[in-house]
């Protein structure tokens, strides 16, 4: 094997799905030893399919995989692991009630005579491995008590423990805070020094530029370019990814806040497990202003928002809209007053996936005229429903072959556009948006951000919650940081520096 033989080569990989979609179209990819190679592309570009082929989860129609120069066929994940390929999925595959050590050795347990588990030996080996990589992970901690960042390290540990020389990480930073992202990057660099080769899948441009030695961009199943970070920049990569020039930063323009529209005072609420996760929140949003709530997921943001829109009964506090107390009103009564809500989880709350698009476009207005009339608003009216659906689909550029397809068949971005189109009405007073662009690609994000700014400029009070700190920073006129159920900091757009806000998100304190 010569010095320059890549550890992994994928040649002419083609995969066509039964629906006719060409997920991978003659893709070439190679990975050198001690290299971090980023795979960049929009959602649905074919990154995950390519990696699933590598991991033996999907069989390619054409193409060849070589490891250390020798052609191989990978039948299943066990095969892949045997050949030194490790994969860290976007959604962690850990058993929450087991300890770190138990999770790592799962399937490859160390046993003493008689098949008795030797956890002490396992813990020792894991501690050695963690020390070598400078991980701070306690092998005896239960996984459900770890932060997402720590859980990810357990996943990596698991792959390395199984002897991975080629590590694939699928969107590893999607759920992490900026601090955790920094830490995981340090880990990856250390792994590279130790001799591991890494494929890093992402659609975040800044991260890719930061960590990768080489960047390969995929669009619609094809490799459209390969760059070295030093020789490129964010806008070039975005253009490669999307296929047209994209403005990465929304031009927020000047805001002209008016009177207070939305007022939350002393709000306290329980989560589904009856723990108090909103512990006294006060906030106000003015007309024509975007207030962003930054915070690591799970610090009470979702419950706060559900309290505001009426899906969750608060245990204390008050919510007012334009001075009117609506703490006790139902979801639809609040909606009638001019509140709209884009939920964080579009598939669980925002859409009925088996329904065709017209029913989804009027889901929150199904009982209003003209969508229902006759017999006291009892009979649904097809024609107005369809024409509204057609209008919204056009205005919000929802890409679909027909309105008569189930919402489940749309891509994530188009599903989100359906929800956004429905909620961004013209007669709004307040707009509550939770994770407006989660999982969306650059093009869709740009579109939705512009729509949000447009509503603000039309005088709507906007409350924005996002786990993406950059999104909050880019869009908000004021930024609140939520930590453990409380608002622990408030910044104007001008004051809010990324590091300062990030630190507050992670620790709840302005100083470490």
């Amino acid at each position: 094997m010569s010095e320059n033989t890549p550890v992994l080569e994928m040649r002419g990989i083609t995969k066509r799905f039964p629906t006719g979609t060409l997920a991978n179209d003659a893709i070439d990819l190679d990975l050198k030893e001690r290299e971090i190679h980023a795979l960049l592309g929009e959602n649905g570009a074919g990154k995950t399919t390519l990696m699933n082929i590598l991991y033996g989860l999907v069989t390619p129609d054409e193409g060849e995989i070589r490891i250390d120069g020798a052609p191989v066929t990978i039948h299943d994940p066990a095969d892949a692991i045997r050949r030194g390929i490790g994969m860290v999925h976007q959604h962690f595959m850990l058993v929450p009630v087991l300890t770190v050590a138990e999770n790592v050795v799962l399937g490859q347990e160390i046993t003493a005579v008689g098949g008795i588990l030797d956890m002490t030996a396992a813990e020792r080996r894991i501690r050695d491995l963690a020390d070598r990589l400078a991980f701070s992970v306690d092998p005896r901690a239960r996984v459900d008590q770890l932060s997402l960042g720590q859980q990810q390290r357990v996943e990596i540990l698991k792959a390395i423990y199984r002897g991975a020389r080629i590590l694939v990480l699928d969107e590893p930073t999607a759920v992490l805070t900026p601090q955790e992202t920094h830490e995981i990057f340090d880990v990856l660099r250390r792994l590279r020094e130790e001799g591991t080769s890494i494929i890093f899948i992402s659609h975040k441009l800044d991260e890719v530029l930061d960590i990768a030695d080489r960047i390969t961009v995929i669009r619609r199943g094809k490799v459209v370019g390969s760059r070295r970070p030093a020789a490129t920049n964010e806008s070039e990569l975005a253009e490669l990814m999307v296929g047209r020039a994209v403005s990465l930063r929304v031009d927020r323009g000047q805001s002209h806040p008016g009177q207070v529209i939305l007022e939350v005072a002393g709000l306290r609420a329980l989560d589904d497990r009856r723990h108090e996760v909103v512990r006294g929140v006060d906030l106000t949003v003015r007309a024509g202003e975007i207030v962003g709530i930054a915070g690591v997921g799970g610090n009470g943001q979702d419950e706060l928002v559900e309290g505001i829109v009426g899906l969750r009964k608060p245990i204390a506090g008050a919510i007012r809209l334009a001075g009117r107390d609506m703490t006790r009103l139902s979801v639809d009564a609040r909606r009638d007053l001019g509140i709209a809500y884009v939920p964080a989880d579009r598939q669980r709350f925002g859409l009925v996936l088996p329904y065709r698009l017209p029913d989804n476009f009027v889901l929150t207005r199904y009982a209003e005229a003209p969508y229902a009339s006759g017999l006291g608003g009892f009979v649904r009216q097809d024609r107005p429903i369809r024409s509204e659906a057609g209008r919204l689909a056009k205005e919000f550029d929802v890409r679909t072959s027909s309105l008569d397809v189930p919402a489940a068949t749309l891509s994530g971005g188009n599903q989100q556009k359906v929800v956004v189109a429905r909620e961004f009405r013209h007669d709004l007073k307040a707009l509550i948006i939770d994770q407006p662009t989660r999982g969306l690609d650059v093009g869709s994000i740009e579109f939705i951000h512009r729509q949000i700014i447009q509503r603000r400029d039309a005088g709507v009070a906007v409350l924005l919650v996002s786990a993406e700190l950059d999104e909050v920073l880019d869009l908000s006129d004021r930024i609140l940081v939520m930590y453990r159920g409380r608002v622990v900091g408030s910044f104007t757009a001008a004051e809010a520096q990324r590091e300062k806000v990030g630190l507050l998100m992670a620790t709840g304190e302005a100083r470490p």
Binding site: L353, T364, Y366, A372, V379, A408
Partner: protein
């Protein structure tokens, strides 16, 4: 031609699995018939299934009388199938149709017999209303319990089925027993019986049942209430988000489901049975579940499924007389149909039907009710 195919395609996508399940059920039952024929005096006869199925068809559709019998047997199954199907649309599995049917039949019998001498135009409608109200009230109980306390409707309706049998036995014995009979029973419904439209037994209840199919279809497809019921069934979270009240819809749907089951009992009482006595068969209750599943909870599908099951009942006697194949073969076929519906993967494999990308699977509600894991296609 292409136009026709395009309009039929969505219907076929829904109907293909039930149709194939029926075909497979007949095929497997044929094997049973052939094998068992070898042990009877008729002797081994590989053509026996064809003869038997021929007689079955002739008995069900071969004469005016046969058709009337088929429709008479189908009418309560239409109401019962609608009762189960409506529940499934809202994600509820009403196994209590048997009990609600009995309660409806009893109320219709008591009302009808007390108006036995009043004109039919008075007695029959009031008896039907009484049956509907009783069924609705009996369906409201599990609905309310589910909405208020989360008590699972499968558990409560199974128990309420037993409660209905015992309660009505007591009521007939001690409250409304008609004098002059050697066994406990109510009085005759007399003039309250439903008018006969044609032949010996083709009663008005059949027209009523068929029109109910279209009423429920209209409610489900075209009204806000139907939209609420379907949304609660498909995604209760989204229903709450849209401002609906799933708790209220749950209670209401169970009440409506009970009402339909009560109607099944009422028309069976007023069109066929004539008086209530403990031990009248409530097999309609369980056949209704099969009808709803075979009809995929769709009212038109339920119409066809009910007619098919009615034809089984109406044609089986002739099959037994002409070919000595026992009536019980019908139970085997019915059971196999449900088996293949539940194990639709088998059917898809045999007939090479591709799984649809999205569907609201009634089977998911049913298997979920038993603590089973819904198939992956439904879990999303």
């Amino acid at each position: 031609m292409r136009r026709v195919r395009a309009t039929l395609a969505p219907t076929w996508a829904v109907a293909s699995i039930p149709v194939y399940s029926i075909v497979l059920a007949f095929a497997v039952a044929a094997i049973v018939v052939i094998v068992s024929s070898a042990f009877t005096e008729t002797g081994f006869d590989p053509l026996l299934p064809l003869k038997a199925y021929g007689s079955l068809f002739a008995g069900a559709f071969g004469s005016g009388n046969g058709i009337a019998n088929t429709l008479v047997a189908a009418a309560p199954l239409m109401f019962g199938g609608l009762a189960v199907g409506l529940g499934l649309k809202a994600g509820l599995f009403n196994i209590g149709v048997a009990g609600q049917f009995l309660v409806g039949a009893f109320a219709a019998a008591v009302t009808g017999s007390s108006l036995a001498n009043a004109p039919t135009i008075v007695g029959a409608p009031l008896a039907i209303l009484a049956g509907a109200a009783a069924g609705a009230a009996y369906g409201f109980i599990p609905g309310y319990l589910k909405a208020r306390t989360g008590a699972h409707e499968v558990v409560t309706t199974i128990m309420l089925n037993n409660a209905a049998v015992l309660l009505l036995t007591w009521a007939v014995n001690d409250l409304v027993r008609a004098p002059g009979f050697s066994f406990p029973r109510t009085g005759d419904i007399g003039q309250s019986a439903l008018p006969i439209l044609a032949g010996r037994n083709l009663h008005l209840g059949i027209a009523f049942a068929v029109s109910s199919i279209f009423v429920i279809r209209w409610v489900l497809d075209r009204t806000t209430l139907g939209f609420e019921i379907r949304t609660v069934g498909a995604n209760p979270n989204a229903a709450r988000y849209a401002g609906m009240r799933p708790v209220f819809i749950t209670a209401l749907t169970m009440t409506l489901s009970g009402l339909l089951a009560g109607l099944a009992g009422a028309i069976q009482m007023l069109g066929v049975i004539g008086f209530y006595a403990p031990g009248i068969t409530a097999s309609v209750g369980f056949d209704s579940i099969a009808v709803a599943l075979l009809g995929r909870s769709d009212p038109i599908g339920i119409l066809f499924a009910a007619v098919l099951f009615g034809a089984f009942r109406a044609g089986a006697p002739l099959m037994q007389i002409e070919t000595s194949v026992p009536i019980e073969v019908i139970d085997i076929i019915q059971a196999l149909v449900i088996l293949f519906l539940a194990a639709d993967l088998v059917v898809r494999r045999v007939f090479r039907v591709r799984a649809p990308k999205v569907e609201i699977t009634e089977m998911a509600t049913v298997t979920g009710s038993w603590g089973g894991t819904p198939p992956a296609s439904a879990a999303r």
